[in-house]
Amino acid sequence: MTQSVSHGEDYQPVFDGKIMDELQTVLQRYPTKQAALLPTLWIAQREHGWISDRIMAEVAEVLGLTPAYVKGVVTFYTMYHQHPVGKNFVQVCTTSPCNICGAEAVMKALLEQTGAQDAGATSADGKWTIVEVECLGACGFATPVLVNDDFLESVTPEKVPEIVKKYR
């Protein structure tokens, strides 16, 4: 357990006020603190955009877990961001079936038109981060693209400008 020392830095806790209330409701749904960790991290990520070391320590403190345990979980999964990401986090399936159906081109178009340049990098305006992911379970609708929580099917390079416009 972390000793509760004051942090002596300008850290704005995530779990405060309304968010803390939300967490309390979430906690009631889970039998143990360990079980509540994933949703707690989701809230943190939603609020802060990504999960910093400092937020892991805060989550550990509010749930009464150890910081190392929290980091172990955060780093195990790919869907918790350990670095800042753009406002729109775009996931493109590039696994074999989608790849055959042109996922590479979709990826290329997205990178170019959003200005994100490289997979995993964030565009200069801070709006876009595009990443390649493994099978999204929609192989029949190649190429699937996840923009934040919106699931878009059968995306082709031609549809990219529209998507970029919509989410800009």
């Binding site: 357990m1 972390t2 509760s4 002596g8 830095e9 400092r54 150890t66 190392a68 345990y69 172990g72």
Partner: protein, 979 residues
């Protein structure tokens, strides 16, 4: 009971045992890596796979329970091939080029894992030919004690479980996944923020040395570390847990300390804390005294020593500031601690612009009032002056402070010398400032002065742990870890403490009271218990007296009234009371937070009343445990280094007792005084009449309350001899300083907090002419006219056993191993794990209830002094810092004096972390650096008392407990300003 066959041998196993357990019990070796005794089994390394008849696949021996009729082959072809496969895979990520040439013959394995590689003929591939890079991970760079070399990690996760399940801290875990998996330290690599206590449990369990201790590697060659000349079993010189430790010796130096096997029966069950494992290098410090020192001015003329030096204030002067002067002075600010910083930025030993040791060690000019002398000169002068003062001013003008850091034998010799040769009972030691009030309260109630139970019973059988005024995880860390394990497993934890200590933070109920309001709290708990009828009537009726008086006395203390006094909500008090009374087995622990008050005896009494009323004593699991501070404070008292009793608490005023001791020592009975002697806190008063003092291993100039006065008092003495390792703040005022031996340099016995007598063996010789305290005291006793002929410490123990009924069965032979918990009345008595199952050692076997009333602490905060100051210890330091501030690793962790202030108060005062603040009490003032911490409640400050440059005891209140003469060390009112 299932039976099985392993490698052709028929074995029987107990229910629930694994194949591995059964094989180990029979001495059959099955290799293991992820498995470690007492840690939860994870079964992830697969090196322990064995063949079991009728099973298609290999079975992990560590994770498979024995079934009746199993036929197991540990070295089947399949099993061995599989093991080689496992080892080959692990070696693929492990730098093992040194094992490549020649395999079994040429390779020299450096650790447990490499031994398996060699044993199974696995030749690792060359590192540069591999596809996978070596592992990396959080490496604790710059750490003064523990570092990681994660390239050698095999991810067995022993360290993770040791930290989580033995120490119950949880600094480490596995981060990332697949080939990227690695051991991580907290969320950001900073062990401090992750709550690391530097206990070194992770070092001890790691099979590859990926987690290693730094100090030996910095100082000694790898060959020396791997093959020490000898390994000697000793007892840790710090706290009352009495951990057994193994000292590794090379070239007459302790090169490292390890802890005994986790499965051995030792009080520490294989653990140690940071002090025990890493605080061993102080005896090698350059400040060690190696020859006797004699104050310049003493000259010998015509066969007698005469003082020719200056008189008056100059008599004991020196080129130093008084503790008062040093306390008031501004000092270099404290480097900010790890809070909010990465390890790389930590101000550790290597990074400081000045060597920490130059600030805390003995300054060179402190030696200037002294000259080095021979033992003959030093002892002759000491004997001459003590005999002179005795002749001129009477026996009772002499006094000694014996030492809770010295062995039973040494304490016995000391009290024997003062009583037998000098005829005074002015013999005391630091117990006065420790558990004297507990002793007074326990004597009054049940005529005894020691713990009723054992530490291990808490983990084994206790349902509710009630801890009052004890910061166990810092002051007795190994026991603290056991408490945390008990709490994790089953026991409820109730903590009464003004500070939010680590245990308080974990507790089911934290009673965060205003300091010194304990009597109100325990009385209210009892009040509530009686109202609900939860008291143990049977116990009260059969085993106690005078309950009605207490029933009357607690009547006014309703939880609501106590809530006003203590600041704890009445409902919380009620809940705590019910939890305590419902047990079924509640253990009661307390320490300095209760005892160091001017009404300490009453406070402890009110807790005892609660305990007796609920019948929470005398069963396995319901223990009464006053947690002892020093490693031998129990023993020093047991062997009579206190002013009113001989060994075994036999009163000095009893003619028969006196006659027995006189006979044993070969002196006429009337040479021994029947008059009770003076206690530590009484000696240091102008009216005590004491003119000559002998101090062994204590440092009252830092540890006494209201030091400014005490320091002055010592300067006025006619003669002062100090026996110590270093020129301490007290020793600098001495006429003669006698260099003693450290814990590693002598053999002797020590008693831990659970009455366990253990023997500690000599590992190295003392440096220079320094001598064992045993030899010094023997020589001096003879010079003082009491012929004494012990050859070794063991001879002294024989005499102690003769005159100490409850130790009558103790011999050195019997103490090897786990030691013995006294009473051990006969040579074949096995020792006593817990006491009072049937009666108490009073004349009629019953305990006495004593009614007590709540009184306010002597000093309450007011407008002028608005804060309550509390004093205590830190994890990394020990008492006046004489040892720990000269132990490089410990000192690097906590190099400077601090005062803990609550963030709210700090922001009101405009004080930030590390800023200097001035604390002023009605007695004095001192300057220290602020540490902002939520562990203290608002309105309170906490000052550790280890620091000469900011001595807490400048400020403390010297009012005394009327029974035990304990000072009010825990509460005084102070004012805080920015300095």
């Amino acid at each position: 009971m299932p039976s099985l066959k392993v490698d052709g041998r028929s074995l029987s196993a107990s229910d629930g045992q694994t194949i591995l357990d059964a094989a180990r019990a029979a001495g059959i070796e099955i290799p293991t890596l992820c498995w470690y005794p007492k840690l939860p089994t994870v079964g992830n390394c697969r090196i322990c796979l064995v063949s079991v008849e009728g099973q298609g696949k290999l079975i992990p021996a560590c994770a498979t329970k024995v079934a009746d009729g199993m036929v197991v082959t540990t070295q089947s072809h399949a099993a061995v091939e599989n093991r080689k496969g496992v080892l080959r895979l692990l070696a693929e990520r492990y730098p093992a080029d040194h094992l490549r040439n020649g395999g079994r013959g040429g390779a020299s394995p450096r650790n447990e894992f490499e031994r398996y590689l060699v044993q199974y003929d696995v030749v690792p591939t060359a590192v540069e030919t591999r596809d996978l890079p070596l592992r990396s991970g959080d490496e604790r760079p710059g750490d003064p004690m523990i570092r990681h070399d994660m390239s050698t990690c095999i991810l067995c996760t022993r360290c993770v479980r040791a930290c989580e399940d033995i120490q119950v801290v949880g600094v480490l875990d596995v981060g990332y996944r697949g080939e990227h998996a690695e051991i991580i330290v907290g969320a950001d690599g900073d062990p401090d923020k992750a709550g690391c206590t530097w206990c070194g449990e992770c070092v001890r369990v790691c099979p590859t040395g990926a987690i290693f201790e730094v100090m030996p590697r910095q100082r000694f060659a790898p060959q020396q570390i791997r093959h020490p000349e000898k390994v000697v079993r000793s007892v840790c010189p710090y706290c009352g847990v009495g951990c057994q430790v193994d000292l590794h010796v090379a070239g007459n130096q302790v090169i490292r300390v390890t802890s005994p096997d986790i499965e051995l029966d030792t009080p520490n069950q294989g653990s140690t804390c940071v002090k025990g494992r890493f605080g061993y290098d102080f005896p090698q410090h350059r400040d060690r005294l190696t020859r006797p020192l004699i104050r310049k001015g003493w000259t010998k003329e015509g066969g007698r020593w005469i003082w020719k030096g200056p008189q008056g204030a100059e008599r004991r002067a020196g080129p130093w500031r008084t503790i008062e002067g040093e306390g008031r002075r501004a000092k270099p600010g404290t480097p900010p601690r790890a809070t909010g910083k990465r390890v790389r930025e930590l101000p550790l030993l290597e990074r400081l612009d000045m060597d920490i040791r130059d600030r805390v060690a003995t300054p060179d000019d402190w030696y200037s009032p002294f000259r080095e002398g021979s033992w003959e000169e030093a002892l002759e002068l000491t004997a001459q002056e003590m005999l002179r003062i005795k002749a001129e001013r009477g026996h009772d003008a002499l006094a000694c402070f014996s030492s809770a850091k010295c062995s039973n034998e040494e304490n016995y010799l000391m009290m024997r010398m003062f009583r037998g040769a000098l005829g005074t009972n002015n013999v005391d030691h630091c117990t006065r400032l420790c558990h004297s009030t507990s002793v007074a309260a326990m004597q009054r109630a049940i005529n005894t002065a020691a713990a009723s139970g054992s530490m291990r019973e808490i983990e084994q059988a206790c349902d509710v742990i009630f801890i009052a005024g004890a910061n166990t995880t810092e002051s007795h860390p190994v026991f603290g870890a056991a408490l945390k394990r008990a709490h994790e497993k089953r026991a409820k934890l109730v903590v009464a403490d003004p500070r939010r200590t680590e245990l308080a933070g974990r507790a089911d109920i934290h009673l965060q009271m205003q300091p010194g309001t304990d009597v109100a709290l325990y009385s209210a708990m009892l009040n509530h218990i009686l109202r609900l009828g939860l008291e143990n009537r049977d116990f009260i009726a059969k085993r106690t007296h005078d309950f009605e008086k207490v029933r009357e006395a607690v009547k006014p203390y309703t939880p609501d009234k106590a809530a006003k006094i203590t600041g704890i909500p009445a409902d919380t008090i009620r809940r705590a009371a019910e939890t305590y009374a419902r047990g079924p087995n509640t253990s009661t622990l307390w320490a300095m937070g209760l005892t160091q008050h001017a009404n300490g005896t009453d406070i402890v009494t009110s807790l005892l009343n609660l305990m007796f009323a609920c019948g929470m004593i005398g069963r396995w699991g319901a223990a009464m445990l006053p947690v002892r501070g020093q490693n031998n404070v129990q023993g020093a008292s047991d062997v009579g280094a206190i002013p009113f009793v001989y060994t075994d608490y036999q009163p000095v005023g009893d003619q028969q007792v006196r006659a027995r001791f006189a006979r044993t020592w070969g002196v006429p009975a009337d040479a021994l005084s029947l008059k009770k002697g003076l206690m530590v806190t009484e000696v240091v008063k102008p009216e005590s009449g004491v003119r000559g003092m002998y101090i062994m291993g204590e440092n009252p100039v830092i540890s006494d309350p209201d030091i400014a006065h005490a320091e002055h008092w010592f300067q006025e003495l006619e003669f002062l001899a100090v026996q110590d390792l270093f020129l301490t703040e007290t020793a600098r005022y001495a006429d003669v300083v006698l260099p003693g031996a450290s814990f590693a340099e002598k053999t002797g016995t020590f008693v831990n907090t659970e009455r366990r007598i253990q023997v500690s063996h000599k590992a190295v010789d003392s440096p220079g002419e320094a001598r064992g305290d045993f030899e010094i005291l023997m020589d001096l006793t003879n010079r003082l006219g009491l012929p004494t002929k012990f050859r070794v410490a063991e001879d002294v123990m024989q005499e102690i056993a003769q005159v100490t009924p409850s130790w009558a069965g103790v011999t050195y032979d019997r103490l090897e191993g786990a030691g013995l918990q006294y009473p051990v009345p006969t040579p074949d008595h096995p020792g006593t794990a817990f006491l009072f199952d049937e009666d108490f050692p009073t004349t009629d076997g019953r305990a006495t209830f004593v009614a007590v009333e709540y009184t306010d602490p002597v000093e309450l905060p007011d407008d002028e002094y608005p804060f309550v100051m509390n004093t205590g210890r830190q994890l990394y330091h020990w008492h006046t810092g004489t040892m720990t501030r000269r132990a490089s690793g410990l000192d690097a962790r906590e190099p400077t004096a601090i005062v803990e202030i609550h963030p709210d108060d700090a922001s009101l005062l405009g004080v930030r972390e590390g800023d200097l603040v001035r604390l002023t009490s009605r007695r004095n003032s001192m300057v220290s650096a602020a540490r902002i911490s939520e562990r203290v409640a608002p309105g309170q400050v906490f000052v550790p008392f280890h620091y000469r440059e900011a001595a807490a005891n400048l400020l403390t209140n010297p009012v005394l407990d009327p029974y035990a003469k304990m000072a009010e060390l825990k509460v005084c009112a102070v004012r805080i300003e920015r300095a």
